[in-house]
Symmetry: C2
Subunit: 462 residues, 2 copies
Amino acid sequence: MSEKRDKAIAYAHKNQDRFLEELKELVAIPSVSTESKYQKDIQRAADWLAKELGNLGAKNVAVLPTAKHPMVLGELPTTQNAATTILVYGHYDVQPPDPLELWETPPFEATVRGENLYGRGTSDMKGQLIAGLKAIESIVKTDHLPINLKFIFEGEEEIGSPSMSEFIRKHKDNLKADLALNLDGGIVSADLPTISISVRGLAYFELRVYGATSDLHSGMFGGAVHNPAQVLCELIAGMHDAQGRVALPGFYDHVRPLSAEDRQNFARLPTDDTYFLKTTGAPALFGEVGYSAVERIGGRPTLEINGLYSGYIGEGSKTVLPAFAMAKISCRLVPDQDPGEVHQQLRQYLQDHAPKSVRWELGQFAGTPASSIDPHQPQVQALAQAMERIWKVKPVFKREGGSIPIIGELQQIMGMPTILVGFGLPDDNLHAPNEKLHLPTWRRGIDTLIHFFYNIIEAQQG
Amino acid sequence: MSEKRDKAIAYAHKNQDRFLEELKELVAIPSVSTESKYQKDIQRAADWLAKELGNLGAKNVAVLPTAKHPMVLGELPTTQNAATTILVYGHYDVQPPDPLELWETPPFEATVRGENLYGRGTSDMKGQLIAGLKAIESIVKTDHLPINLKFIFEGEEEIGSPSMSEFIRKHKDNLKADLALNLDGGIVSADLPTISISVRGLAYFELRVYGATSDLHSGMFGGAVHNPAQVLCELIAGMHDAQGRVALPGFYDHVRPLSAEDRQNFARLPTDDTYFLKTTGAPALFGEVGYSAVERIGGRPTLEINGLYSGYIGEGSKTVLPAFAMAKISCRLVPDQDPGEVHQQLRQYLQDHAPKSVRWELGQFAGTPASSIDPHQPQVQALAQAMERIWKVKPVFKREGGSIPIIGELQQIMGMPTILVGFGLPDDNLHAPNEKLHLPTWRRGIDTLIHFFYNIIEAQQG
């Protein structure tokens, strides 16, 4: 096995310039998903990936239309029985390049400066996609792969993956796998490899509070009726207690507590409180008492106000007593909270606390549970060992504060756990001008993925 | 004296058709103050009034420019020593007529239908202006007036009287009077004459709460920093106590309590709680415990949220952790609250309660104290007796919930009290299509004002 690994690694090293050229080729296709003027480029990027899968010898390669942008599918099956199946996920769409004038080199002409490759999508995530594909190429061109690989590449990640849920349901049988390898992750610093083992869920609500049937003059009516903006604020104020905990009834009932090991992992992350103070520019950090910032973000649920509106918000003054007030409210959820239950908890809270002098309505926009994978699971350990082999340091297991719809959906619809990995860095300027990819880290990533697959193969062969 | 009154009343009755024609003439001038396309009409209306003052024999008649629309001044001095001086106030500007398609007859062609005259400004307040001028004409054409009258008519009331404060300061000596008679009031129903003896003051603020230096991703940072929208809501929630009282420190220290007589006056008003429920359409009334709605509006101070903004307020969801949140907050003040003190009370409250995890800024847009006149003052009694004579019912003394800048400014700058009176009705469709004036009430108003002036004269001679 060691010899096979060496051959694949040697292939990767020998071909690294070509790999870079191919990445540049993919970056040159401006596959921006938000704007319809890039529709043809979206299709070109999907076709480029389908061709790439063909070059790897993949079967059943297809570019399937959705309501919006196409999905690219493919399979590299093995003839071996009872082999592990891994579903490799990536997205080929990118954020718009604006503001263009802030780019030092054109966003769609990937340019090497120093150790970095600059261009839109180099880090998020065409670079990560190519890393995965080139690791696989390095194996299949030098060896027979005794595991099953399946591929799903979408073109809608940057617009919230609107077609993904329905697509997964429809292609459930084709997508079946033991594990998803989501290449859309990142590492916390160039010298500390990272495996993301959970993402938070999301339950997003809109609360509207209604008072009088129309806006009133605050002089002629101020004092007669309950101001819905005031009521909304009072309701929101009651949603947290003095310890920064969420005060919805039963909110923490199913929250999985952080283990000692979880807390050790959090403590290893370089993103300490000083980091968050500097990054956010806030006068002070704040949150649930008893947890560090990184624990609160990755390991604890939150309730945030995402938007507030009522009455007059223009310049100067208008003496209006508003007829209604609105808040966008979202909860980030951790394992094992249920978004439907959280919805009921918020509804119960409002029933218990909203005064009779107003009417209220609660709408829901999203409800995705958190997803997580056990860091002791063999496939996660396979990746951890691969990382340690390359970096000479044990990787840190990270819990992500954000929610990645595809991870939640694979968990919910297919019961499939996801390992989230990638080799972008926090300062890669994602979604911003001068996005870049750190090439030494990227090359380590390709080697890591080669070892990951061989670790899986070895474990399978026992 | 009785004979003189009779002559003046007879003159008014004899000329009532001409009075109506002159009102129609003034309504026909579309003196809309908000839109610059009516600039010439504004000037025409000012000139029309100057000419009208000339017809009354007024001296020092002038149409004086301001930064925006002209002021009309004039005087009817008496040679008698130690005579009472009354400053008659009115505004000749009107609200825009839109939406035009909802008018049954053209807004600037005043049309009689049944007992009403329909047209923009018939009630607010060209009708009231003409009532005042025609009461005076009825006296000066049949008698010598042994009191001093001064006139100030503005063209900016409907846009908030931006030039008034500076104008009063500049013309302080010319405008000196014992009392202002502001004709811009109304009565609560056609069978219940009303004298407004106070208006509330206004202190208007904008509160901004800042957290991180820019909007953050609510997943990647939710839990790390204090959400400024949440902090704003918590601060606002603390501004009222459970009894609906304003919780700023010292807020009620100088509030003049309602006397038994005040409360009897409030109880006489037909606008009871059922009225406010129906008018506002709110599910229930709400306010400071221990007071009726009309008492809370006219006699008690309030703190209202006039506007709220933070983060994302469009359709659907955006997972933003906002960098700032804003509220427009205004207090309606009663005698003897000081707007500057209220500003300090709000600032103190924020200093005491805002957490260190946010920054905040407080701006102020307006600060006008409440104004009031003692209903036992002889001139108020002169008006009350005149009303009782015509209506055969004692007038009700009303305290207005709104704030009328000119009343506050005359009080503040000149120390001059104001009697606010007028003969419009609550259903006159002010600022709306099909504005109308109830002609029988209007004619009673002219007779009332004739008696008012004679009562003043009698008291002076008495």
